[in-house]
Each structure stands twice: as structure tokens, then as C-alpha cells.
């Protein structure tokens, strides 16, 4: 049972991100490097918030303080990686002549760095839980909810996808100077994170439903910002990939 639960939760949380990675990122080395770099930035933000949390703990502050500051630090570091990527763009242009998509479509960089944030944050929240899921212990004997692993996995997935959407929206907002989207990113991040505080009192539905609602809103907004529309979606689903034939003349 424990092993089944382990695999179930692991694939629930990391299956979709894994698919996204394999389909959209794995083929392009530069995207992989940017993914790892953004993961590194997320780690730095976590490190800063942990430092602050260490101080807060000695002052007996509740965990809310740590959560708020870590959300703010994450957004700060998202801004830093935005600056870094925009600066590096000139170099990237040289780097990726073979792959012009990354230059012409700025959303790709945003998507990759958002996914990098999401994957590392999801990993950090779930990996130790998963390691314990294989047993030999079991959850729920003392009146705790035995949905612990399942909800953790669901929320992890939600956060990974949210981070991806936040990444796209955040970069878009800064590029186009649409600060409403920027405010939405920070506020919704804060909101969802604070909502998860209710998990400790096992109000799982009260956490998960709003979190996924925010995900849908943010995801749609990000997709719209990146230029998606019903027609483009339909086109991408129905029409076969086009092959361009190039004639080589000798």
C-alpha cells in the first residue's frame, strides 16, 4: 500500500511537470540551463527566507511571518532572474541561432523560468514527504487525516503549475508595463500560500478548491498574455504539424 501511495502521489504531483519538461524543454539545451538557473534562484530565495525565519523563530513568531516573507522573496528573486534573462538575451540570440523560437517568442523564457521555479519548489515541498510515504510508518492512526499524502501531492502539482503561470504573467507584465498583472501575481501567490495554512486544521477542501480556482484564472490570464486564443488552440489541436520543405540547390 505504502509503495502504491508513493507512486500515486509522485506521479500525481510530478507527472504533468515531467511531461511538460520532456515535451517542451528537454530538447533544447539552453532551456535546460535556464531551468536549472531559475531553480538555483529559487533556492537562493528560500535560503534568504530561511535566514529570516531563523530570526523570526527566536522571536517566537508564528509561521505566517515565514510564509509571507518567503513569498515576497520568491517574487523578488523572480524579478532578479527576469533582469538576468533580459540582460542575457543578447547573448542568447547568438547562442540559439538554430532555435529561433526562443528569441522571437519571449514567453518561452518566461515559461521556462516559471517551470524551473515550480519544479524546485514542488520538489522541496514534496520530496521528503514522499520519501516517508514508502513506509514503514503510516499516516492517520492518531486521528490525523489519512489524506495527508494525497493533499500534499495535489497542492504540489497546483503550485508547480501556478509558478509556471506566474512566471509567464510576471515577465509579460514587466515587459509590457502592465502592473495590474504584476500585482495579481504577487497577491495571488500570497493568497494561495496563506490559504494553505488551513491545512494544519485539515480543512483540505477549503485550501485545494480556491488554489485550483486561482490556478485556472492565472493560467488563462497567462495564456492570453502569451497570445493564446480559442482559434490558436483549435488550430494547434486540429491541424497536423506543418512540414516545410526546403530545397537544397547544388
Amino acid at each position: 500500500m505504502a509503495l502504491l501511495e508513493f507512486f500515486g502521489c509522485a506521479f500525481l504531483a510530478f507527472g504533468p511537470p515531467l511531461a511538460m519538461f520532456l515535451l517542451t524543454i528537454a530538447k533544447d539545451p539552453i532551456r535546460i540551463i535556464i531551468l536549472i538557473a531559475s531553480a538555483f534562484f529559487w533556492l537562493l530565495s528560500l535560503l534568504t527566507s530561511s535566514l529570516l525565519w531563523l530570526v523570526a523563530v527566536t522571536l517566537h513568531s508564528p509561521i505566517v511571518v515565514g510564509v509571507i516573507f518567503s513569498v515576497l522573496f520568491q517574487e523578488l528573486f523572480r524579478y532578479l532572474i527576469y533582469l538576468l534573462l533580459r540582460k542575457a538575451e543578447v547573448g542568447l540570440k547568438k547562442l540559439t541561432e538554430s532555435d529561433t523560437a526562443i528569441i522571437t517568442n519571449k514567453n518561452i523564457l518566461a515559461y521556462v523560468s516559471g517551470l524551473g521555479f515550480g519544479i524546485i519548489s514542488g520538489t522541496f515541498s514534496l520530496v521528503n514527504v514522499l520519501a516517508d510515504a514508502t513506509g514503514p510508518g503510516t499516516v492517520g492512526l492518531h486521528g490525523d487525516s489519512n489524506l495527508f499524502f494525497l493533499t500534499s501531492a495535489l497542492l504540489t502539482l497546483c503550485f508547480i503549475l501556478l509558478h509556471t503561470a506566474w512566471g509567464v504573467l510576471f515577465f509579460h507584465a514587466l515587459d509590457k508595463k502592465k502592473y495590474l498583472a504584476l500585482v495579481w501575481v504577487v497577491m495571488s501567490h500570497l493568497l494561495v500560500s496563506l490559504l494553505t495554512l488551513m491545512n494544519s486544521s485539515q480543512l483540505y477542501l477549503a485550501t485545494i478548491l480556491p488554489a485550483y480556482a486561482v490556478l485556472v484564472v492565472t493560467g488563462l490570464w497567462a495564456a492570453g498574455a502569451a497570445g493564446a486564443s480559442f482559434t490558436s488552440l483549435k488550430k494547434c489541436l486540429t491541424s497536423p504539424p506543418t512540414t516545410v520543405q526546403v530545397r537544397i540547390e547544388d
Partner: protein
């Protein structure tokens, strides 16, 4: 552990500006005399007019990222083997037996005593490494190739047979799988012989790379098991400093080795280096040599208790390499006539300007693989996956930065210092600072 791991070398084509300097390996034959020769041409000579340079730079960049990934994959694989072993096979985390080079066992509960024990152990180990490195260089300088090759073959033999045998035994024990001695003998013989052939002679590229990765992982496991707790951390720090000195200082042993090899127009010990392209063929000048040296040193150092196994496998290559070198020499002589040869370059930079280059690759010393894996493996031995992942990401980023520097400086660079520094910082930061925070978050299912 020693020195060498210097690593990443790339021989950047002179023009390449990319992250990764690459070496271009001649396509068809390993030994391309021409390459070597070209390497020796001082860069300035070889430089073309600026515009062309720039064009080439751009071209290089395109390949750069792909080569970074070609190193990421094997490094990650090596770490994965080590982490998987450490977290499932308890044998490698049990303490009790130590290398002879680490006489102080940190048994005392007193922190001060532990610290000086660790420092003393690390100093002894480093001393051994330095002595072995110098010894190797003397052998090389006075052309005692037979001894070096014998040494390398012996070590690879022991690593592939004895350590692999112990490893297999422990894995079988952990998973409670019975195996009769006849099958075991059959498996070990085939594994070892194929490994020797793949490492020292020739084999499909992927097979060869797999053996190199496995051997590096085995060596890392040996270090994790036989070094006392704190000593491991001190050794990691000390080694990366030594790496820096040995590769970069004007009289650094690895640098001397590289220069000697260059002036002789021969590849050093190609076996100790992982190449993203065809390894054994690479004619590499600098990096390889440095790496190999280091590896060998490491091996020697490591062997202490059991055997000098570690580095071994690589050496074998040398033999092969020798033959190639000879062939190369012939060609080089021919080539030399046409190309104005500059005085041997003092720098380890290998440049090649090849017309027929087809592949460019980066080389990373196996020693680098070993110490990266030691760091990650050691981090995972405490059971906190967050720490392991943080170290992994930090090392990859360090490797990226090293490759970036490589692209800028285009000479052999030590691959340990940046990565290991990042790894150490993230290990201690994550386990002491982040873990309490992350644990309280996960316990309450709070997501950030």
C-alpha cells in the same frame, strides 16, 4: 583525490566564445596528429582576422549549450548512482574502517578534537596526493611510461574487479538476492574484462562512458565509506583549493605535466578523462593530462586500505594512446613542416584549428566526477532529500559557471573550486538553515 581534477578543459577553438570551449576532435581518428600540433600553435598566431573570429565565436556559441548538457547528463548519472546506493545500501554509510591515510578517527565527542582530527586527516591525505602527483610527474618527465601504464592498469583492474565485486555483493545482500559463485564469477569476469577493454582500448562510445561513470561512482562510494565524517568535508574543501593551485599556478604540478605533454606532442593519460565526444581518441592536451593525473593521484591516495584501485582504469588508455601518439607523431612531423610551429606554449590551452574537425567536446576529469559525487552522496547520507537536491543544483550551476569561464579564458581550468564551493555552501546552508524551515512547512502542509 588529488589534484587533478582539473578539469574541464576544453580546448576551445580559439575562436569559440561559447560557454563551453570545445575541443574539436578529429573525426575519424583518434589520433590526429594535426590537432596536437595545432594546439601548440600559440593562439595569437593562429588567430584570424577579427571578423572571422567573431563569426566563429557565434558558431561556437551554438554548440556551447549542447555541450554543457552533454556534461550535465553524465555528472547527474554518476551522482544518481551514488545517491541511490547510499540511500539503499547501508554498507556504504557504516563507519568503522578507514583509509590508512586518515589515522585520526574522530571518535572523541569533543568538537575541538574532531576538528583537528579532520584537519590533520585532510592534511595527510593532501600530502599523499601532492607526493603522488609529483612522483607521477617525475615518472612522466623521465619517460618511464611503462611504469605509469602499469600503475594505471593495475588500478583500473582492481577497481573493476575488486571494488565492483564488493559493490555487487553489498547490493545483493541489501535486496536479499541469492547468487551462486559460478554465476558471480561469470558476471564479474565479463564485466571486468569488457570494462578493461572499453576503458583502455576501444569500445562503443556509450559503453566506454558508462564504464567511466560507474568507475567514478565506485570511487566516490569508497571515499564516502572510508573517510571519517568531518574529514570528508574538509577534504572536499582542501582538494578544490589544491585543484586550483595545481592547475593554475605557474609551477603547479598539473600545469607542468600538461606543458611537458604538449612539448612532447603527446596526449597525457587520456583514460582518466570523460569526454563528451569520443574520449579515447581525443587528443587532448591539457585537460586530459591534468585530469588524468589527478585521477591517478586520487586513486593512489584512495587505495589505502585495499588497493590502489581507484584511478586505474584510465591509465590503460595510455597505452593505447601511446600507439596513437606514435602514429600521430608521424603525421605531426609531416604537418609540422607546413605549419609554423611556435615554441611550445606554456599554457595548457589547446587550440586546434581544424579543418576537419567534426566534433567538439568538452572534457571533464574523472576526479571531478568523483568529488562531485562524494559531495552529493555525503549530503544524501543524512537522509534529507532537500539537501541532496540543493547540492545537486548548486554543483550543476557551478559547473555551468566554470564552463562559462572556460569559454572566456580558453585554457584548462580546475572544475572543482566553483562547484564544490557552491555545493559546500548549499549543503551547510540547507541542512542548518533551510531544513528546519522546510520541515515545519511540510509538517503543517504549508506551501510557499
Amino acid at each position: 583525490m588529488s589534484s587533478p581534477r582539473s578539469s574541464t578543459s576544453s580546448n576551445p577553438p580559439e575562436n569559440g566564445a561559447s560557454l563551453i570551449p570545445n575541443e574539436r576532435v578529429p573525426s575519424r581518428s583518434n589520433t590526429n596528429p594535426a590537432l596536437q600540433e595545432r594546439q601548440q600553435i600559440p593562439r595569437e598566431l593562429s588567430r584570424n582576422p577579427v571578423d572571422q573570429d567573431e563569426l566563429e565565436d557565434e558558431e561556437e556559441l551554438k554548440y556551447g549549450a549542447a555541450h554543457v548538457i552533454k556534461l550535465f547528463v553524465p555528472v547527474s548519472l554518476c551522482m544518481m548512482v551514488v545517491v541511490a546506493t547510499i540511500s539503499s545500501v547501508t554498507y556504504y554509510t557504516q563507519k568503522g574502517i578507514y583509509l590508512v591515510y586518515t589515522p585520526f578517527h574522530e571518535d572523541s565527542p569533543d568538537t575541538g578534537t574532531k576538528v583537528w582530527n579532520a584537519v590533520a586527516n585532510a592534511a595527510i591525505l593532501l600530502g599523499v596526493i601532492v607526493v603522488m602527483t609529483v612522483f607521477l610527474i617525475m615518472l612522466y618527465k623521465y619517460r618511464c611510461y611503462k611504469i605509469i601504464h602499469g600503475w594505471l592498469i593495475m588500478s583500473s583492474l582492481m577497481l573493476l574487479f575488486i571494488f565492483a565485486y564488493l559493490y555487487l555483493g553489498e547490493v545483493l545482500r541489501t535486496y536479499n538476492i541469492p547468487l551462486d559463485y559460478i554465476s558471480l564469477l561469470f558476471i564479474m569476469w565479463n564485466f571486468g574484462v569488457v570494462g578493461m577493454i572499453a576503458i583502455h582500448w576501444k569500445a562503443p562510445l556509450h559503453l566506454q562512458q558508462a564504464y567511466l561513470i560507474f568507475v567514478a561512482a565506485l570511487m566516490a562510494l569508497v571515499f564516502i565509506k572510508y573517510l571519517p565524517e568531518w574529514t570528508t568535508w574538509v577534504v572536499l574543501g582542501v582538494i578544490s583549493i589544491w585543484d586550483l593551485v595545481a592547475v593554475l599556478s605557474p609551477r603547479g604540478p598539473l600545469r607542468i605535466l600538461v606543458e611537458t605533454a604538449q612539448s612532447r606532442n603527446e596526449p597525457l593519460f587520456p583514460a582518466l578523462i570523460y569526454s563528451s565526444t569520443v574520449a579515447y581518441m581525443a587528443v587532448m592536451a591539457t585537460d586530459q593530462s591534468s585530469t588524468s593525473n589527478s585521477t591517478s593521484n586520487n586513486e593512489t591516495a584512495a587505495n589505502g586500505p585495499r588497493s590502489p584501485t581507484d584511478g586505474g582504469f584510465t591509465p590503460a588508455w595510455n597505452q593505447e594512446a601511446e600507439q596513437r601518439t606514435e602514429a600521430r607523431r608521424h603525421r605531426v612531423q609531416a604537418a609540422a613542416a607546413e605549419a609554423p610551429r611556435a615554441a611550445p606554449q606554456p599554457q595548457p590551452v589547446t587550440e586546434e584549428i581544424d579543418d576537419d574537425e567534426e566534433e567538439r567536446g568538452i572534457k571533464l576529469g574523472l576526479g571531478d566526477f568523483i568529488f562531485y559525487s562524494v559531495l552529493v552522496g555525503k549530503a544524501s547520507s543524512y537522509g534529507d532529500w532537500n539537501t541532496t537536491i540543493a547540492c545537486f543544483v548548486a554543483i550543476l550551476i557551478g559547473l555551468c559557471l566554470t564552463l562559462l569561464l572556460l569559454a572566456i579564458f580558453r585554457k584548462a581550468l580546475p572544475a572543482l573550486p566553483i562547484s564544490i564551493t557552491f555545493g559546500l555552501v548549499f549543503y551547510f546552508a540547507t541542512s542548518k538553515l533551510v531544513a528546519p524551515f522546510a520541515d515545519s512547512l511540510t509538517a503543517q502542509q504549508v506551501f510557499i
